[in-house]
């Protein structure tokens, strides 16, 4: 699903060069649930941005679902992002002026679906996260957990192959966090590949595999059984 070979990402200013990722190698297979951990400044967010096609690499090769994305232009990258990737952010990133229906509709609009198809997908996605009854509500009328579920519905509506989650439970209390994680596991079971960045060691164990990034490189990985979070390798 995702294959990064010798990726380097360098931020340059007039005074300083920062290597955010160096010789970064990672393969995520289709249907996997991979968690990414690492200390602050280790390069987790840069990895996520590159994986999500929000940033380009300085060097290296990145294959997403078999497509070499290095060198694609903005229009091609945006199309690929829209079709293949769903995003879930720590701060939900819902558009405050749009109601739930309209928020979930955003990626479908850019996909060019007709109104009937959009409606079907929005209703199905909101149904899946248990918020179908609140379509006309604004984000500000929902709790944090509900807002994150809407964000998940928005990510799911386009039926992406690949879900990128950046600290999806970071702004939630433990009960809501557990509910969101259960939802993500369900989604993964239905075949969607998930890569989730987290600081929380407990959440890191909820994936099938955890990789640790330190100083812009993958330094370790662990495998967990999907049921009891037991470390197996």
């Amino acid at each position: 699903m995702l294959k990064m070979n010798n990726i380097n990402k360098i931020y340059r200013t007039e005074l300083v060069e920062t290597h955010a990722l160096r010789e970064f190698n990672l393969t995520v297979n289709e249907g996997e649930f991979v968690t990414v951990t690492g200390p602050s400044g280790s390069g987790k967010t840069t990895f996520l941005n590159i994986a999500g096609l929000l940033e380009t690499v300085s060097q290296g090769q990145y294959l997403l679902d078999g497509i070499d994305v290095v060198g694609l232009n903005d229009k091609q990258l945006s199309k690929l992002r829209n079709e293949k990737i769903g995003f879930i952010f720590q701060s939900f990133n819902l558009i405050p002026d749009l109601n739930l229906y309209e928020n979930v509709e955003v990626p479908l609009r850019y996909r060019g679906f007709n109104s009937k198809e959009r409606k079907r997908r929005i209703e199905q996605a909101l149904e899946q996260v248990g918020l179908a009854a609140r379509m006309k509500h604004l984000p500000s009328q929902l709790s944090g957990g509900q807002q994150q579920r809407v964000a998940i519905a928005r990510a799911l509506a386009g039926e992406p192959k690949f879900l990128l989650a950046d600290e999806p439970t970071g702004n939630l209390d433990s009960l809501m966090a557990r509910q969101v994680m259960e939802l993500l596991k369900d989604i993964n079971k239905q075949g969607t590949t998930i890569v989730m960045v987290t600081h929380d060691p407990a959440l890191a164990r909820s994936g099938e595999r955890n990789i640790q990034i330190v100083d812009g490189q993958v330094c370790d990985f662990s495998l967990y059984s999907s049921n009891n979070n037991e470390k197996t390798a």
Binding site: T45, N49, G52, L54, E55, D74, K75, S78, K79, R81, N82, E83, F87, F89, Q90, S91, N93, L94, I95, D97, L98, V106, P107, R109, Y110, R111, G112, R154, G158, D166
Partner: protein, 443 residues
Amino acid sequence: MFSYYLRLAWQSLIATPIVTLLMLIAIALGIGSAMGTLTIYHLMSADPIPEKSAQLFELQLKSYDKKQSSWGGMNDGFPLQITYQDAINLQQAKFTTTQNFLQTPMLLTGFAVQTDDANIAPKLNSARAADSDFFAMFNAPFAYGKAWDKSIDEQGVEVVVIGDKLNKSLFGGGNNVGKTLYLNQKAFRIVGILQHWQPTPLFYDVNNGAFNDAEQLFIPFSLIAPNQYRSWGNNSSWKNENIYTFNDKLASEIHWIQYWVELKTAKEKYTYQQYLQTYIKAQKQRGRFERDDASADLKDVTTWLSYNEVVSKDNSVLVGLSFLLLVVCLVNTIGLLLAKFLRRAPEVGVRRALGASQGQVFLQHIIEVAVLGFTGGILGVLLAQLGLSLLKNNYNEYKLLTSMDLTMLLTAPVLAISATLLAGLYPAWKICRTQPAVYLKSQ
């Protein structure tokens, strides 16, 4: 996607009502002032008779003596009007059929007008004395009747053509051909009634007010001498003459008559110019036109209007200034748009993450700018209309120049949208170039 962007634009505009209002005021003020001055300029500089403006010529004669280095106040030394004696001489040539192009001498005069209805009080009306060719030359449209017979151009008969406005005020409208009108208590038979006719500018007599109402009374020029009708227009002379009687004036060097000729081809113009040279030569033999550079000049309608500076330089400057104000308003709008759009960078970041390309983000914002421009343009037109009606109500000379025609009504929104789009290009470009990753974490 266009309707989606329109909806987003509307939502965005009502989400920030104060900023939207400020931008609308700025655009409306800029467009209003630009359109107001442009309307006046446009109407002032319009070709009043485009179908034949290149075929109608005002005649000028440099007839003054050698003592004057130049006279008449114009740069080329040609007086704006001609003398009665020259007008009559040229008119006579028409009757002899050798120079029978459509042509007419003319004079602004006026009368106290009465009808047989004793209930209608006499009222003063300006009148134009001209030959019957006047109506055909200037495409004056008849509602009823027609111009008087050409024979009347030679022997004065009391007939009159009236305008629709006077027809309505005196008779309540309708066909009143054959009825009698009393001009200074003298009976005139109505032979024709014009439809509404208002050349703007009133090109055929700009020295008596280029933006005055067209006259509502037209009488034969041949009545001037026998009835001793006075001029209501400009009279000027280079010669110190003793003028005791009306006949003295007719024989004098006073310039008070306008003379127009219709020459359809270059050949006709050449022929007439040759005739004028012959005429000047003959006048020289009579002791007139004594200057070496005595000559005639023919100016077509557009040349005549610019020669007389019908659109003064002040008007051009005013249009320039009002467009400068539009630029200032747009610069302010750029600032407000930039602030508004950049404040929305986190939302744009989300849209980019969800699949919007830079082009789509740009289009979304530029459509919002266009909606703003269109609304501002409509408000600007209303503002311009308000300004023009204030001008119309307070200054009589602007009466004919304060109505937006279709061209101006269409120009306003086009100008508003293009100007605002121009102003919105930079903010929209700036916002579409934002790095989404920066904002996704920080929201």
